[in-house]
Symmetry: C2
């Protein structure tokens, strides 16, 4: 696995051992992060960004790495997340393969990569690791924590487990709990990887790599990250030129198929398959209802919407904003509405902002015309 | 491949050669069909049902086969498609593996199964084959042609290519053209089968069978046939009992995963993988715009919405009904609206009926409370 850790990535060691929520502990683990802007003397202008499943910590260009980052249009001087005002921190998720410790990292106990020996990973572990980075950087209280997609879950876990760690919160296309449609999609993505003979129970090599499984998982991801509406306008029924079409039986023929193929090719060798499995499953497990304050009495059974709402109401913030888009099929709009309502029930000045972006779940990565004023406007007011 | 052709299936030979629209011809091909009710003396009470990708011709119990069929709740005495009044015919699609000739059938030229030697299959070939069955049964004009899902495409092709073959039409969760989201889903399903090493370029055996690929294809199908809304209520976050959960790493844990697994198990060995590939691709290719009357001038380029609408307007019917459901992500509601509008533009008394079924694309197979009165009410008036 070529890990493609961005140059200029910085690291903070986690406490060793670092206990994991579902059992076990990590030894000698670390978190990869990057920063932008300057921490002020009061140390009260810091913003933490927690990401979706695949991004690294390089959200935008900085001195250590002038290459454009994955949220370049949003993070920088004068941009929505204005680095002239804010000290911005972005962490690579625990369990990822972009610098933070994950299944592809070496287990100090064996001298070999963890692979499936990595402890069970929960969103809460990622939140605890991010909290450690914040503290280690000398920040007592964040001005804001911003979480996108899976990061929306991480941010809620962070706020639930570390009361007072942030004054405000922006939840973008996140969810307070995984629902069965998204669980089904992720389960199928994981099955595609597990069914690839080269996955080999997690024991693959560069030469025998589960490329087919990763390709399927990524294509299915991209299908659910975008929207039918966007694709109708973008691809319609346009076919590939004869020199780009595929001669294989049942090979590529339409532009939309070539688009998926391009996404898959750019991804498969750049992300560790075991990391993918661990992070994907952590989202299925996530349920704010697990933080339901006493009295829910649900024992071992599944939590209800009410449990999640009660847990959200325990989070104390000055202000919050939950943004979603109408065309998101993976983290549908009512999930962001639920977040805003739950936070509001606890006294937070929380707003729900549904956006008419046609790009689906991934709109926050492309529809800056709508996301810049939404995020920038909120931050201007805190 | 165990084909599971229902007992009591009847057959009609196709003309030999039977020319295929995209080139080549079938020799000695046949169509599987079943009937219910009695053809009247005027031969004007016949209804043809054309199906989605996977069903056989056994839509309901009949004398030849008392087992319940796939549309048992809709077809029978006193039911929405009332066999006391109507002579109902259901055909297994050309290219399928449930009795009609398809890639698993023996090619008389070689004495071996066609496999990928089967000619390229289009929805229009299926429509021509269905038209032959109608004629061979001595029916000049159908009272109605009913098409579900892929069958909605087949029905439109039939009406476009065989003017006057039906007085009326019910299009259920169909489409006048494939759009990129559904093309992407189907492309991924085909890729799952093609990537399975056991697919082996179409040359698999019972022992070395592309079970993993078929399992993935079917699960992805089921995910897109239902809806997130239905699953929220049906499965929520309910987990499997410990004795039903899967001990494999990253194995099944939630009810929704077990539901998909059950669907996959019931399907994989009962449908020919090459048939699946051929029928799936035929849907991607389908575009009513191909029947656009002179003057479109689009040459080799992709057709536009206008082309499809113009072609629909050339279909002359007394009455038509296009039914769709709000939660269908595969054949979204605007596609059934387009069908009704196009037919209406040609002078047909065509109605668009959006139903609030929560079950998504497959609602017509389960939501009889809504579909029975919709279909029954239409047929009572023709």
């Amino acid at each position: 696995m070529t890990e493609f850790i961005p140059p200029g990535t910085r690291y903070i060691d986690l406490p060793s051992p670092f206990p994991m929520r579902r059992g076990g502990a990590l030894h000698g683990a670390r978190m990869a992060f990057e920063t932008w802007g300057t921490l002020n003397a009061a140390r009260d202008n810091a913003i933490l960004i927690v990401t979706g499943l695949s991004p690294d910590a390089h959200a935008a260009a900085n001195e250590a790495n002038p290459a454009a980052g994955w949220w370049e249009a949003m993070v920088g001087p004068g941009k929505a997340i204005d680095t002239d005002r804010w000290h911005v921190i972005c962490v690579n998720s625990l369990g990822s393969c972009k610098g933070s410790t994950g299944p592809a990292s070496v287990d100090p106990a064996t001298g070999q990569p963890y692979r499936l020996g990595f402890p069970e990973l929960s969103v809460e572990d990622g939140a605890n690791a991010a909290a450690h980075v914040v503290r280690a950087l000398g920040i007592h209280r964040l001005a804001c924590v911003i979480g996108n997609s899976m990061g929306g879950m991480t941010a809620l876990a962070l706020l639930a487990m570390h009361p007072g760690i942030a004054r405000s919160h922006i939840n973008i296309s996140g969810a307070a709990r995984a629902l069965p449609f998204s669980i089904a999609i992720r389960s199928l993505q994981r099955e595609a990887i597990r069914l690839d003979p080269n996955w080999n129970g997690g024991d693959y090599t560069e030469e025998r790599y589960p490329e087919s499984g990763m390709r399927m998982a990524r294509k299915l991801g991209v299908i659910t990250y975008r929207s039918a509406l966007e694709w109708d306008g973008r691809f319609g029924r346009v076919r590939l030129d004869s020199d780009r079409a595929d001669d294989e039986p049942f090979g590529l023929e339409f532009e939309v198929e070539s688009y998926l193929e391009g996404h898959a090719r750019r991804f498969v060798r750049r992300f560790d398959p075991n990391s993918y499995l661990y992070l994907s499953r952590s989202m299925d497990w996530f349920d704010m209802g697990d933080f339901c304050p006493g009295g829910c009495g649900r024992g071992e059974g599944p939590s209800s919407d009410d449990d999640a709402r009660a847990a959200l109401a325990c989070i104390k913030l000055e202000k919050a904003l939950a943004i979603g888009v109408h065309t998101d099929i993976l983290f549908p709009l009512q999930q962001q509405e639920e977040i805003a309502e739950g936070l509001r029930a606890g006294g937070t000045d929380a707003r729900f902002l549904p956006l008419p972006s046609p790009q689906g779940h991934d709109a926050f990565l492309v529809d800056f015309e709508r996301f810049s004023p939404a995020v920038g406007g909120f931050l201007a007011d805190i």
